[in-house]
Every structure is written in structure tokens, then in C-alpha cells.
């Protein structure tokens, strides 16, 4: 996920729509989920030159292996 700094997030949001300060405050906690999902998938991307190693995949809903 490209946007991690508060100032960049605010700048990006204001480019998209006429967001208020309240909207921004509601947006920040949601972006934690976006960040977690993006980071989890990025950490699991495997090279496509062979079979997927299932040992690297999660076995619980929290992502534990």
C-alpha cells in the first residue's frame, strides 16, 4: 500500500472528493484494514516458477501458519 503517511492520505482523499475533517478521521482506522490486507498478500506472493508452497499459507483466520 502506497499511502502510509497521514499527510499523503489527506492529500489523496481531498483530490478524490470534498471530504471533511470528520470523514478523514473515520477513514484512518479503515485504512488500517486496507494496509493489513495488502501487507499480508504482499508477504505471501510466491514466484510462479513452481508449485505454491502451502507451508507458507495460513492455517487460522488470523493468518498464523
Amino acid at each position: 500500500m502506497e499511502y502510509r503517511e497521514r499527510s499523503k492520505i489527506v492529500e489523496r482523499a481531498k483530490q478524490i472528493a470534498p471530504v471533511s475533517d470528520d470523514d478523514i478521521e473515520q477513514l484512518f482506522p479503515l485504512l488500517d484494514g486496507v494496509r493489513d490486507s495488502s501487507d499480508l498478500l504482499e508477504s505471501l506472493i510466491q514466484p510462479f516458477d513452481g508449485e505454491i508452497n502451502i507451508d507458507q499459507l495460513s492455517s487460522t483466520v488470523e493468518g498464523n501458519r
Binding site: 500500500m1 502506497e2 499511502y3 492520505i9 489523496r12 482523499a13 478524490i16 472528493a17 470534498p18 471530504v19 470528520d22 470523514d23 473515520q26 477513514l27 479503515l30 485504512l31 484494514g33 486496507v34 493489513d36 490486507s37 495488502s38 499480508l40 498478500l41 505471501l44 502451502i54 499459507l57 495460513s58 492455517s59 487460522t60 483466520v61 488470523e62 493468518g63 498464523n64
Partner: protein, 347 residues
């Protein structure tokens, strides 16, 4: 008039209508009374068109009187999620952006339901655009769960779940991208299924390719009858499944003794379930074993990654769909929905 037929299952209602023990008009009237009694407090329906429902009923009664068989859903009264277009019947998506939209055509699945003899009695409540979570700021206030009216009905097909569970309709139709029909089915003691992509055509729907039109019923048989009527090949739909629809309703009473069913216990126990839910699940597993089914512990890998991928795809699609109108009509969106939609811009 046969009293309280609205409490029966869809299959039982259709049987009574076809045998002439109750007319379609009488059945629709019973559901309209039920809606007038309960909807003011439960908010399950956004729009109910009494005149149109009674006109549909009169048409079906005429066909029955002429000796015709209108179809497997004859006389069943259905509530349709207000994100699914219905010809001549306001379809709002519970948003101020579509507050006055009256579609010129039915979605294909709705047209099929009508062809099967059903009556569309009204449009059921949902989270705005089937997204985010229910909010008092939506065009219509959220529906409440009849099993516990202190709680909102879970969505996004929340009104479909609530309306079906208290017999405001014979059954209902929702949509399901990430659980939007299965979750309300679970919270309202109903049956539902997210159909395989292409089984029920999405022609006439919006561009959210991950959301499937899904039946909700009070029994497995009702849900199977609904799915059979909605499913089928649509040549104009390049994603439609070109095969014969299985007779789901005829395969419910099979002998399951000797079946093996995998149970991902490790995954289930790692989820934050409430004790009552886990207890019900254990009872369910015991019931399966009592029927002669062998339960096998299986290790399913990659579900957390699947959930993350689903989250990213759904949010990206939702933002893409609303990108222009978020800029031009920001204030028309509910304050929660618009912020949820904005998430996808940061992926």
C-alpha cells in the same frame, strides 16, 4: 379464506394455491396485512406496491381459472432486495443517488421468477449500495432483527432476511458478494446460498461482478425451488453457465449414510465465535454423525489470504464503480458509506 397461510412454507403455499384451496389474491392480501402490521417497526421493506402486487395476483388467478399452470412458484409472494432492478417498481439501492429510479426492465433473474408464477410484492431494505454497514443516515433507516429487535439486521441483504423470517413474504431474494445473503440467513434462522458464478445470470444488475443474486427461504426446499427458478442459461450473458439446471428440489431427501464430510476444526476454533454459536455447531456435527456421516478433520490452508484478497478486490471494484459520483455527489452518500467506498482509492 384459509387463515394464516402466510405462516406456511413457500412450497406449502404453492401447493394450496395450485389445488384451489386459496387464491393468489388471498395469499397476497395476507402478506400485505402482515407487512402493514410489522414493517413500521422492522423496516424490512423500502417499497411495497399493493396495487401492482394485487394486479399480478389477479392475472395469475385468471390463468389458474383457465386451467393453466403458471409455474413452480405459482402464487408465492417474494420480496426483492432493492439493489435488483424491477420493471416499473422503484429501485433505490437505499441511496439518495437513486431515490426516484424506476427501472424500465427487470433483471433477468427477476424476469425468470415472474415467469415461474411468483408475485413481486415489494423491495427489501439493505445497506446503502449493499456496502459498508447499516446506518440511520441511509435513505431508509436500517431494518431490525425480529429475533432481537434491539439489534439491526445484519446485511447487506438485511431486509430480505428480516422479511422472510417473519413471513412478510413467502421467500426473498438478496445478493451475496462476501456473505451478504448467507450472513442474514444465519442471523434470521433461514437458508441461503451464494450461487456459483454464472448459474444465476446477473444481466440487468450493476457492474459488481463478485455479487451473486441469491435466494433466502425458511426451508431448504423453498430455497431450492427459488434457485431452480432463477438459474438458467442466458445467451446474452457471456458469463452465463451453458448447462441444464439440476433439479435441486428433487435431491433433498437422499440417504447421506456413509458420506464423509471434512471439518476444518483448527480454522473454526481460531475464529472469534460466540459460545452459543460454537455449541450449535457442535450439535449440528453430532446430528450429521447420527445420520451415519463420517466427519474427517481437515487442514484448510490459505483462508486468511483469501479473505485479504477478497477484501482488496471488493474494495477496489466498489471504489472504481463510484469514483465519479463520489466526486460529484459526495453529500448525497450516507456519511458511513462514502468513507467505506473511499478505502478502495488507497489500494
Amino acid at each position: 379464506m384459509t387463515a394464516n397461510v402466510f405462516t406456511l412454507t413457500l412450497a406449502e403455499q404453492v401447493k394450496l394455491v395450485k389445488s384451489g384451496q386459496i387464491s393468489v389474491t388471498e395469499l397476497v392480501q395476507q402478506h400485505l396485512i402482515r407487512i402493514s402490521e410489522l414493517n413500521p417497526t422492522l423496516n424490512s421493506f423500502i417499497t411495497v406496491d399493493e396495487n401492482d402486487a394485487l394486479a399480478q395476483a389477479a392475472m395469475l388467478d385468471s390463468r389458474l381459472a383457465a386451467g393453466e399452470d403458471p409455474g413452480p412458484l405459482t402464487g408465492a409472494t417474494l420480496g426483492v432486495k432493492d439493489s435488483i432492478p424491477t420493471k416499473g417498481l422503484r429501485t433505490t439501492d437505499n441511496s439518495r443517488l437513486l431515490e426516484n429510479w424506476i427501472p424500465k426492465e427487470d433483471a433477468k433473474a427477476v424476469a425468470r421468477i415472474r415467469q415461474a408464477g411468483a408475485v413481486i410484492i415489494g423491495k427489501t431494505n439493505l445497506n446503502e449500495f449493499g456496502w459498508s454497514r447499516p446506518s440511520e443516515h441511509d435513505l431508509n433507516p436500517p431494518p431490525w432483527n425480529p429475533w432481537n429487535p434491539d439489534r439491526m439486521s445484519v446485511g447487506s441483504s438485511s431486509g430480505s432476511g428480516a422479511a422472510c423470517s417473519v413471513s412478510m413474504a413467502s421467500a426473498t431474494i438478496g445478493t451475496d458478494g462476501g456473505g451478504s445473503a448467507r450472513l442474514p440467513a444465519g442471523a434470521h434462522n433461514l437458508y441461503s446460498i451464494k450461487p456459483t458464478h454464472g448459474l444465476v445470470s446477473r444481466l440487468g444488475m450493476d457492474h459488481n461482478g463478485h455479487s451473486e443474486i441469491s435466494p433466502l427461504g425458511r426451508t431448504a426446499l423453498d430455497t431450492a425451488l427459488m434457485l431452480e427458478s432463477m438459474a438458467g442459461f442466458e445467451p446474452e450473458d457471456d458469463m452465463s453457465w451453458p448447462a441444464e439446471v439440476p433439479a435441486y428440489s428433487e435431491n433433498l431427501e437422499v440417504n447421506v449414510s456413509g458420506w464423509r464430510i471434512g471439518v476444518p476444526k483448527n480454522l473454526i476454533e481460531s475464529a472469534p465465535n460466540e459460545p452459543e454459536i460454537l455449541s450449535c455447531f457442535e450439535d449440528f456435527l453430532s446430528k450429521l454423525e447420527s445420520l451415519g456421516i463420517e466427519l474427517v478433520d481437515v487442514d484448510i490452508r490459505g483462508m486468511a489470504e483469501a479473505r485479504a484478497a477478497n477484501f482488496i478486490v471488493l474494495n477496489s471494484e466498489a471504489y472504481q464503480r463510484h469514483q465519479k459520483s463520489l466526486r460529484t455527489d459526495w453529500s448525497k452518500y450516507g456519511p458511513i458509506t462514502r468513507v467505506y467506498l473511499l478505502q478502495g482509492a488507497f489500494l
